[in-house]
């Protein structure tokens, strides 16, 4: 019977989903079923290579330790690959995309605006960032990773939405001891000549947004008053019940409710589909997933310490966690729409601030609306 066969097909495709494999694009009924399943993004991308070295079985003698340290010092000594010719620096136009930075969340404290309003800001410190690599789009698409990423969209393969993106720029943060990492991981940094970094991030860019590998990135990459998107891993909240995890209403505390104050209640359907549907919301692990916080404004930048002051307390993770920051993709907060902030001609430094520009910067800069503590108390008299 027709009804039975479509149902069987649906069940099989759901089985595939439960094993988290790539969807086959043939079935059109899956979109409504799939929407019930709330996928949570907790794993690192599959293309991340093995990073940490295994512990050494035999102890290394002191002489050899000194020898290794010597070798490392000689290898990473000196300026970064100055024998290569510098790449051309692009100019900003509408629709450009440039790489972002990796920053560490160092805390939260309030700042005040000139009209007396308080804004709680999160401080994000850009620590030891360098551009590691530029991967052109064709290289990426032909590679093993690129093939895996080639998920057919239901609008068809001919609809290429992001034609202008010419590749990925990889950025790394916080140099560490090469002895901790595998040879493969250290090899990622030979192009740029920097020391192996603890954290890596990848940003899609347009042609003019490409930055040469080895360039350091600082807080001056951003402009006070602009909007950014922050990508990071949320705080772990452990195994949580259905009220905290999914926002269920629970049941009354009194009036005769028996042992069911925070429970889910009804879970299955009636006669025909007498089973629990896949994706039924139930208690489980909350937190530790990678999310985007979009449209956060940068109110203040400290160029001396490389600290960005960003709206809100909700930047993902605890103090000390690393997040990716890039220019926002929200339409209302893009460069061309920032008329009040006078940023319609793009970021101040595009694609990033280089050494000669960094020298001229003051220690600190505020968005025009922010109250500087060096100025006297706010007076609201007309």
């Amino acid at each position: 019977m027709l009804g039975a066969s479509t149902e069987l097909l649906a069940v099989r495709s759901l089985g595939k989903l439960l094993h988290l494999e790539v969807l086959s694009s043939g079935l059109h009924t899956t979109s409504s079923l799939e929407s019930r399943i709330k996928r949570v993004n907790r794993h690192k991308p599959f293309w991340h290579i093995r990073k940490l070295n295994k512990a050494i079985d035999e102890p290394i003698t002191e002489e050899n330790q000194i020898f290794i340290q010597d070798y490392i010092d000689r290898k990473y000594n000196g300026p970064l690959r100055e024998e290569f010719t510098p790449w051309a620096k692009g100019e900003w136009k509408e629709g450009s995309r440039r790489p972002g930075v990796l920053a560490v969340k160092i805390g939260v404290h309030p700042i005040w605006l000139k009209n007396g309003k308080q804004v709680i800001t999160t401080l994000l410190q850009v620590q030891d960032n360098h551009v590691i690599k530029y991967t052109p789009r064709t290289n990426f698409e032909d590679s093993y990773v690129g093939q895996k990423f080639n998920i057919a969209s239901f609008t068809g393969n001919n609809n290429k939405k992001s034609e202008s993106l010419t590749g990925f720029v990889t950025v790394g943060a916080i140099s560490t001891d090469p002895q901790k990492y595998t040879k493969g991981y250290c090899g990622l940094f030979t192009d740029s000549g920097v020391m192996p970094k603890r954290h890596l991030a990848r940003f899609p860019v347009t042609d003019n947004g490409v930055i040469q590998p080895g360039t350091p990135l600082t807080a001056a990459h951003f402009t006070p008053g602009q909007f950014v998107d922050v990508y990071g891993r949320t705080q772990e909240r452990g195994f949580q019940g259905v009220m905290k995890r999914w926002g269920f209403a629970g049941m009354p505390a009194t009036h005769g409710t028996t042992k069911s104050h925070r429970r889910a209640g009804h879970v299955g359907s009636g006669c025909d589909k007498s089973r629990i549907w896949p994706g039924q919301k139930m208690p489980g692990w909350v937190g530790g997933n990678y999310t985007w916080m979009r449209g956060l404004r940068i109110w203040r930048i400290n160029y001396a310490e490389n600290v960005l002051y960003v709206t809100g307390t909700a930047v993902q993770g605890d103090v000390g966690s690393v997040v990716q920051i890039c220019d926002t993709k929200l339409n209302a907060k893009k460069w061309e729409n920032l008329k009040k902030e006078n940023l319609t001609s793009g970021p101040r430094f595009f694609p990033t601030a280089y050494e000669d520009q960094l020298k001229e910067l003051p220690e600190e800069e505020y968005y025009s609306v922010v109250h500087d503590f060096k100025s006297p108390s706010i007076s609201l008299s007309p």
């Binding site: 005040w112 410190q125 103090v319 706010i378 008299s381």
Partner: protein, 312 residues
């Protein structure tokens, strides 16, 4: 690492910063000025100087960070202290304690005055917060209505903070004033500042406030061992409850945990910033605070100077 030498009051789960009971220490004039000394004297005086700077934790408690290790970060704390010092250059944030009478003038867009400024006078019933989030609460009774205002100490809308009467009370928090007669919370709006002579210790006002009859905002009979600033006429709500209440108090049944708190040295340690780190902080900000205090003293002295009247 040396733990804080002060002991927490039992059951004082209310306050995170370790604070002892009422202590005798001088007002800001205790801040000693630096003088030229020989090297030997200098090391001795340096120690003494450091010790006197340790009193800054009472005068400027918001400069010490929140001891919770998950939230601590040296760079952020340094930037915050810098902002705080810059703000202190603009207005005088005076030394005050819970129990002092303050007058705070703020820029308020809803003020009826044409210059959009409001002034509130009150007794400080609590203060807290660390860094730029430091706050204090003033209480007063205005036209028979109890009013409390919580101010953020580093909010740039604050135009002026005056200490009308610098004094301490028997407790670190005075929330029981809400259940006390209005006269104990009233501070007249036209009160003039009482200036203490230099170098004098901060006076302790040991008034014991008689609480009103029930209902109360909190069960003050249970805190009678912790707060010494109030007295209850009839500790038991009803005659029938006497025996149950007495049994409850006799068993020390203010929650079983509170009994062990006074023996928990690790809890004390966790809730304080180590002395070495405190010394580093005062080293960083001490000079600027002292010079600012000197500046303010000069300004206050000029104001207080009374011109001699013409002799006929």
């Amino acid at each position: 690492m040396m733990a804080c030498r002060l002991t927490c009051l039992a059951g004082q789960g209310l306050r995170r910063v370790c604070s002892g009971s009422v202590r005798q220490f001088a007002s800001t004039s205790y801040l000693r000025t630096q003088q030229t000394e020989s090297e030997e004297d200098r090391s001795v005086n340096q120690e003494q100087h450091d010790l006197s700077r340790r009193d800054f934790r009472y005068i400027f408690p918001e400069f010490l960070p929140d001891p919770k290790p998950e939230w601590r970060n040296k760079v952020r704390e340094r930037l915050e202290r810098k902002d705080m010092l810059q703000r202190r250059e603009q207005i005088e944030i005076p030394e005050f304690y819970v129990g002092s009478s303050l007058a705070v003038t703020v820029s308020d867009e809803n003020s009826p005055n044409p210059n959009k400024i409001s002034r509130f006078v009150g007794i400080c019933i609590d203060r807290g917060g660390t860094g730029l989030r430091a706050w204090f609460t003033l209480r007063n009774v205005v036209e028979g209505q109890g009013v409390e205002f919580m101010y953020q100490m580093y909010n740039p809308s604050i135009v002026k903070i005056e200490v009308l009467r610098l004094e301490q009370r028997l407790d670190e928090e005075l929330y029981y004033l809400r259940d006390a007669p209005a006269e104990y919370s009233t501070v007249p709006f036209d009160m003039e500042a009482e200036i203490l002579p230099e170098g004098s210790p901060v006076p302790v006002n040991d008034t014991v406030v008689p609480l009103n009859s029930r209902p109360w905002t909190r069960k003050w009979e249970r805190y009678a061992m912790i707060y010494s600033g109030y007295s209850i006429e009839n500790p038991f709500p009803t005659p029938g409850k006497v025996r149950r209440q007495m049994r409850w108090m006799a068993e020390g049944n203010q929650g079983w945990q509170l009994q062990t708190l006074k023996y928990d040295l690790m809890r004390d340690y966790r809730n304080t910033v180590p002395m070495e780190e405190q010394d580093q902080i005062w080293e960083e900000v001490g000079d600027q605070l002292e010079s600012r205090d000197k500046q303010m003293r000069r300004v206050a002295a000029k104001r207080a100077f009374v011109r001699p009247s013409k002799r006929i």
